[in-house]
C-alpha cells in the first residue's frame, strides 16, 4: 500500500485560514489502512479544525466525505454536485489522490492533508516499512525476494557495503542491512552461489529518471 501520515495540524490550518466552508475528503484505500486519511481521521480532523477556528472567534463549516478511492474518475465524480459550495478541498488521500482531485476540479483550491511517504507494508501494528520504489524492472528474482533498491540506503545492486554491522545498516542501527537479509535468505534457499553473480548496471529509464511514467493497455481501452 501507499503509506502516508497526517500533516502537522498548523500546516493544514495555514492552508485554509481564509476559508469559511471546507470540503474534507478522505479515501477508503491505503490511507485508511495506515490510519492517516480514512473516515475516522476525516472526522477527527474536522472536529479539530472547527475547534481551532472557534477559538479564534471564527466560524468554519466542514463537510466530511470519504470516497472509495481518489485515484479513479468514477469516485471523484461523487462530489461534483457539491464542490462548488466550498471555498477549498482538503484531501486526505495520498499525493496521487490530491492531484487527481485538483485536475478534475480545476477551479477549486485543493490542499493536501497528509504527507505521502512510501510503498510499504504494515510490519506490525503502528509500524510501516518501505518495500518498493517502483523502478519498473523488478529484480526480486535475483535477490532472494528482498529489494536492495528500496531497502539498501545506497540502493547497491551488488552489496553489502563495508558499513554492514551485525546485520544492521551503517546509517541506523535499527535498520536491517538489506544485503544481510538477501544473503540469509539465499542461504536458507540453498542458493548462496547466486550471490557470486554480478548484477549488471541497471537501466533506470523505467524509474523516475526516465520522466513521468505512463502505462497503456490497449486491450483494456474502450
Amino acid at each position: 500500500m501507499i503509506v502516508a501520515e497526517r500533516k502537522p495540524f498548523d500546516e493544514i490550518t495555514g492552508f485554509i485560514k481564509e476559508c469559511k466552508r471546507v470540503l474534507l475528503v478522505g479515501c477508503n484505500e491505503c490511507v485508511t489502512v495506515c490510519y492517516a486519511g480514512g473516515k475516522k481521521e476525516v472526522g477527527i480532523l474536522a472536529s479539530a479544525l472547527k475547534m481551532a477556528f472557534m477559538k479564534e472567534g471564527k466560524q468554519l463549516e466542514v463537510k466530511e466525505v470519504t470516497l472509495e478511492r481518489q485515484c479513479d474518475h468514477e469516485y471523484l465524480e461523487e462530489i461534483r454536485n457539491i464542490i462548488a459550495e466550498y471555498d477549498a478541498v482538503i484531501s486526505l488521500a495520498c499525493g496521487v489522490g490530491v492531484q487527481f482531485m485538483a485536475e478534475k476540479y480545476f477551479g477549486t483550491p485543493v490542499f493536501p492533508g497528509v504527507n505521502t511517504l512510501f510503498m510499504g507494508v504494515t510490519e506490525e501494528r503502528g509500524v510501516w516499512t518501505e518495500r518498493c520504489q517502483g523502478c519498473g524492472q523488478c529484480i526480486l528474482g535475483q535477490t532472494a525476494g528482498i529489494c536492495p533498491i528500496s531497502r539498501c540506503a545506497k540502493r547497491l545492486l551488488n552489496g553489502p557495503c563495508g558499513g554492514s554491522t551485525k546485520g544492521k545498516c551503517e546509517i541506523d542501527k535499527d535498520l536491517d542491512c538489506a544485503w544481510q537479509l538477501i544473503i540469509d535468505r539465499l542461504k536458507e534457499l540453498g542458493r548462496l552461489d547466486d550471490y557470486d553473480e554480478l548484477i549488471p548496471i541497471k537501466d533506470w529509464s523505467t524509474e523516475r529518471a526516465g520522466g513521468p511514467r505512463k502505462l497503456v493497455r490497449e486491450d483494456l481501452q474502450p
Binding site: K154, N158, C161, T165, C177, L192, L198
Partner: protein, 310 residues
C-alpha cells in the same frame, strides 16, 4: 606479471616489490597548498598517493583537482571516486578528465552515505555501485567504449583498484565479495584498516584458497592511533571497523604523552606481521591528519627506500 597501463604503481607491483601507498584528504576550502604540502611530507616514502573523494560525505576540494596538483608535482596519484555523487555521465567524464592529465590509477568506491556528512538533506545518486564502476573503467579502457556503446577517442589508461573490508558483516561472504570485485575487473585492492590481525589472516587464507592473491594485488590497510581516545572511537563509532579490546587496552594503559608513540609502534608491528602473510603485496598507510608520521612508519617498517621505477 605483465602491466596493462602506464601506472607506476602497477609497474612496482608487477616487479614484485612490496608497494607503499598513502592518502591525502583534500582541504575544506580552495587552498591548493593544503594538498601539496601534505604530499611534500610523504612523497619520498610512498609509491602512490590516494586522494579521497569527499570522504565521510563532507564536502571538500574535489579529488580530481587535487590529483592534478599531485601530478603536476611529478607524483603518482590514485583517484578515489565514489558513486554516491555522480551518475554514469559524470563518472565517465571525470575518468576521461583524469586520464587527460595522465592520472593512471583509480580506486572505485560506493562512498559513505550522505547522512554522515555535512549534507544529510542532499540527494544521493548511486546510478552504479562500486563493482559496476570497476566494470565501467575496465570497459572504457579495454574495449575503448563508453557505457552507451560509442567509441572513445583515446581511451583512458587506468590501473583499477577497489576497497575491501574483511571485517564488515556478514564475514562469510567477505571473500566471495572480494572475488566478485576481482571478477568485475579490480586489479589492486586496498583494505580497510587492519587491527584484528588474526581475523585478517583468516580472511587472507580464504582468499588464497580461491587463488585470489594471484589475480589481484592486495595492499593491507593500516592506520596508526594518535591516542587511546581515537582507538575507542574507531572501535565503537566507525561502521565496519574491528579493533580488538587488547589493542584499545594497550593504548589506554600507555601514559597520555606516550600514546602517539605507542600508536606508531602498533602500526609498525602490524606491518611487520602482515609482511609475512602470503599474498600481501604492499601497504596502504592511512595516517589520518597525521601525514607527517608516514615517513617514520615506512622507515621503521623496513620499507624505505622506495624502488626507483619510472
Amino acid at each position: 606479471m605483465t602491466t596493462k597501463t602506464p601506472s607506476r604503481l602497477e609497474k612496482i607491483l608487477a616487479a614484485g616489490h612490496l608497494a607503499v601507498t598513502s592518502e591525502c584528504g583534500p582541504p575544506r576550502g580552495s587552498n591548493g597548498d593544503a594538498i601539496t604540502s601534505k604530499a611534500e611530507m610523504i612523497k619520498d616514502y610512498v609509491d602512490a598517493i590516494n586522494v579521497t573523494d569527499n570522504q565521510t560525505s563532507v564536502t571538500r576540494l574535489c579529488s580530481l583537482a587535487a590529483c592534478i596538483r599531485l601530478k603536476l608535482m611529478g607524483l603518482e596519484p590514485i583517484l578515489q571516486m565514489v558513486t554516491r555523487d555522480r551518475n554514469r555521465i559524470a563518472l565517465q567524464s571525470d575518468i576521461l578528465g583524469a586520464a587527460s592529465f595522465d592520472i593512471h590509477n583509480i580506486l572505485c568506491l560506493s562512498g559513505d552515505h550522505q547522512q554522515f556528512g555535512d549534507s544529510p538533506q542532499g540527494q544521493n545518486v548511486f546510478d552504479v555501485d562500486s563493482m559496476q564502476l570497476i566494470q565501467t573503467v575496465r570497459y572504457m579502457r579495454d574495449e575503448g567504449k563508453f557505457l552507451g556503446g560509442d567509441d572513445i577517442d583515446q581511451p583512458p589508461e587506468m590501473f583499477v583498484g577497489a576497497a575491501a573490508n574483511p571485517f564488515a558483516d556478514p564475514f562469510e561472504i567477505r571473500v566471495r565479495r572480494l572475488a566478485k570485485k576481482v571478477a568485475a575487473g579490480a586489479e589492486f585492492i586496498q583494505t580497510q584498516c587492519i587491527y584484528n590481525l588474526a581475523k585478517f589472516e583468516h580472511w587472507m587464507k580464504q582468499a588464497r584458497d580461491q587463488g585470489l592473491h594471484e589475480k589481484v594485488y592486495i595492499l593491507a590497510g593500516v592506520t596508526p592511533f594518535k591516542s587511546a581516545g581515537m582507538a575507542k572511537y574507531m572501535k565503537n563509532r566507525v561502521p565496519g571497523m574491528d579493533v580488538p579490546d587488547e589493542v584499545v587496552q594497550r593504548m589506554s594503559d600507555t601514559p597520555k604523552e606516550k600514546q602517539p608513540e605507542e600508536g606508531l609502534s602498533i602500526c609498525v608491528e602490524s606491518i611487520q606481521r602482515l609482511k609475512e602473510v602470503e599474498g600481501i603485496r604492499g601497504f596502504h598507510i592511512m595516517a589520518i591528519e597525521w601525514e607527517e608520521k608516514v615517513p617514520e612508519i615506512v622507515e621503521r617498517s623496513g620499507l624505505y627506500p622506495r624502488p626507483k621505477i619510472q
